[in-house]
């Protein structure tokens, strides 16, 4: 009986890690769609979001079922609660990837200054690094790595600010319209990384039972 319960927890965690892997993938695709102006890739990300939402909802439902039937406590309870919470973050990160893809569709018919594409690509690479670290911390319950997420996130915020400065140099009105979509996309990328930092706090709670707020900038606060 209890063995079945443990397997269920293990499988649920594996599913959440799988969703995390998909989130990394769609974030990468959305960035590519934006940088390359590829509307087909953007459409692919947008179309896949329903499936991602369903999988995240499945985690929440499954966690509730286990809580209702198995009376998990202590580390098991923290794991279940955290998995449900993390999948909620994943769902939002997926939505942000969709928003980036929509920005890619809006900007694809025009090629702006290369510097800004380079900045977005650099930001995308850094976000990718944070997401990979977050997923590894979750998979291995690696506290040290979970704590490092905040530091990994910092350069992303700096790049977002640099993006704004570059934007100020634009003169042409069309450029400005184009750039406003790009700056939003840059903002979405930055928020995806913020979610990863929040997940890091959740991983810490899952492992230690202690809540630790590593930064003040939560994605909610930035909305």
């Amino acid at each position: 009986m209890r063995e079945g319960f443990r397997k269920e927890l293990k499988d649920l965690k594996a599913e959440v890690v799988g969703i995390g892997r998909s989130v990394i993938e769609v974030t990468k695709l959305a960035t590519r769609a934006l940088v390359d102006g590829d509307v087909d890739i953007a459409a692919e990300v947008i179309a896949g979001d329903d499936d991602l939402d369903t999988r995240c909802l499945g985690i929440e439902e499954h966690s509730l079922e286990i809580i209702a039937t198995q009376f998990p406590v202590a580390r098991d309870l923290r794991l279940l609660h955290s998995l449900a919470y993390i999948s909620m973050h994943f769902e939002r990160m997926g939505d942000l990837a969709v928003n980036i893809s929509k920005a890619a569709r809006r900007t694809a018919n025009r090629r702006g200054p290369q510097t800004l594409y380079d900045l977005i690509q650099a930001q995308g690479n850094l976000v990718h690094r944070v997401l990979e670290a977050m997923l590894e911390a979750l998979e291995k319950k690696d506290l040290e790595l979970a704590h490092r997420l905040q530091a990994l996130d910092e350069p992303i915020d700096h790049l977002f600010k640099q993006f704004f400065r570059e934007l100020a140099r634009l003169q042409d009105e069309e450029d400005i319209e184009w750039a406003s979509s790009m700056v939003l996309a840059s903002r979405y990328l930055e928020r995806i990384a913020d979610h990863a930092v929040d997940i890091g706090e959740r991983i810490t709670y899952m492992v230690t039972g202690e809540f630790e707020q590593v930064g003040e900038d939560t994605p909610e606060a930035n909305t």
């Binding site: 319960f5 406590v73 202590a74 039972g209």
Partner: protein
């Protein structure tokens, strides 16, 4: 070993906040030491749950509070138990009077083979209430507080043993309440009754805890989590060794983030 908790130091930190203060308690059955070095403060009012695997000394510890263990010839208690700052093992303490102040409910409901009325009136009669009007009042009040009055008010002369198991347990609670205790010890009070009756007893405990300090020994961890404010986890690590209090703290903390790995392993079903 000192349990991993801040509450265990309650005895020295804030003696008056505790109804029961236990210091350095050891308990022996002859040569066998059953409990070792227990220091804990049980807060006034509220519900404290004792949990742990079978044979870990929870019931033995519980029985120290009303000196039920005195009835076992080889039993020996070391250390101190204070109730309201009074040492209950001091010379001159009357165990019968102590047991009026510290009532006890057992696993199997044990009504006396007499009427419902006489079961509840038994204690007050023993303590000198003889007038019928006075007894009627105590019987009704006690049955009301035990949430049994409505079910039995028309059948008071009927035998206590004719009631259902859950009703019998509430009758026993009414019998304890009739002598106005300030502490009620409950040794697995719900393990022999049906789920509906369990719920009634848990509701009753919740009502009573505003006036009475309740300590419950339970093997049902969901019950401990549901009903208690604080939880103590006991463990005998190896056969033949005495049991110890491993961890004591707020129930919500014990069941979400226990400090001791042994508590965590036990409550998550990894042993025991």
């Amino acid at each position: 070993m000192t349990p991993s908790t801040a509450a265990s130091s309650g005895a020295s930190a804030a003696p008056h906040a505790n109804k029961i203060t236990v210091r350095d308690l050891d308990f022996f059955y002859g040569d066998f030491q059953a409990l070792t070095d227990i220091t804990v403060g049980i807060k006034e009012r509220g519900i404290t749950a004792f949990i742990g695997p079978s044979g870990c000394g929870k019931s033995t510890f519980l029985r120290c509070f009303n000196r039920m263990n005195d009835l076992i010839p080889s039993a020996k208690v070391g250390g101190t138990i204070l109730i309201d700052d009074e040492d209950i093992y001091a010379v001159g303490v009357d165990p019968v009077d102590l047991r009026r102040r510290v009532g006890m409910i057992f696993q199997q409901p044990n009504p006396f083979p007499m009427s419902i009325y006489d079961n509840v009136a038994f204690g007050p009669r023993l303590h000198g209430v003889t007038k019928k009007a006075g007894l009627d009042e105590v019987v009704q009040r006690s049955l009301e507080r035990a949430n049994l009055w409505k079910e039995v008010k028309d059948i008071l002369p009927r035998g206590g043993l004719t009631l259902s198991g859950g009703q019998q347990q509430r009758l026993c609670i009414a019998r304890v309440l009739a002598v106005e205790p300030d502490i009620m010890l409950m040794d697995e009070p719900c393990s022999a009754i049906d789920p509906t009756s369990v719920q009634k007893i848990e509701d009753l405990m919740d009502e009573l805890k505003d006036r009475i300090t309740i300590i419950i020994v339970t093997h049902n961890m969901q019950q401990a989590a549901r009903v208690s404010d604080e939880t103590a986890f006991f463990l005998q690590e190896r056969t033949g060794e005495p049991a110890e209090l491993v961890e004591f703290g707020r129930t919500a903390d014990i069941f979400t983030s226990p400090k001791d790995r042994r508590t965590e392993d036990y409550i998550t079903g990894r042993f025991g």
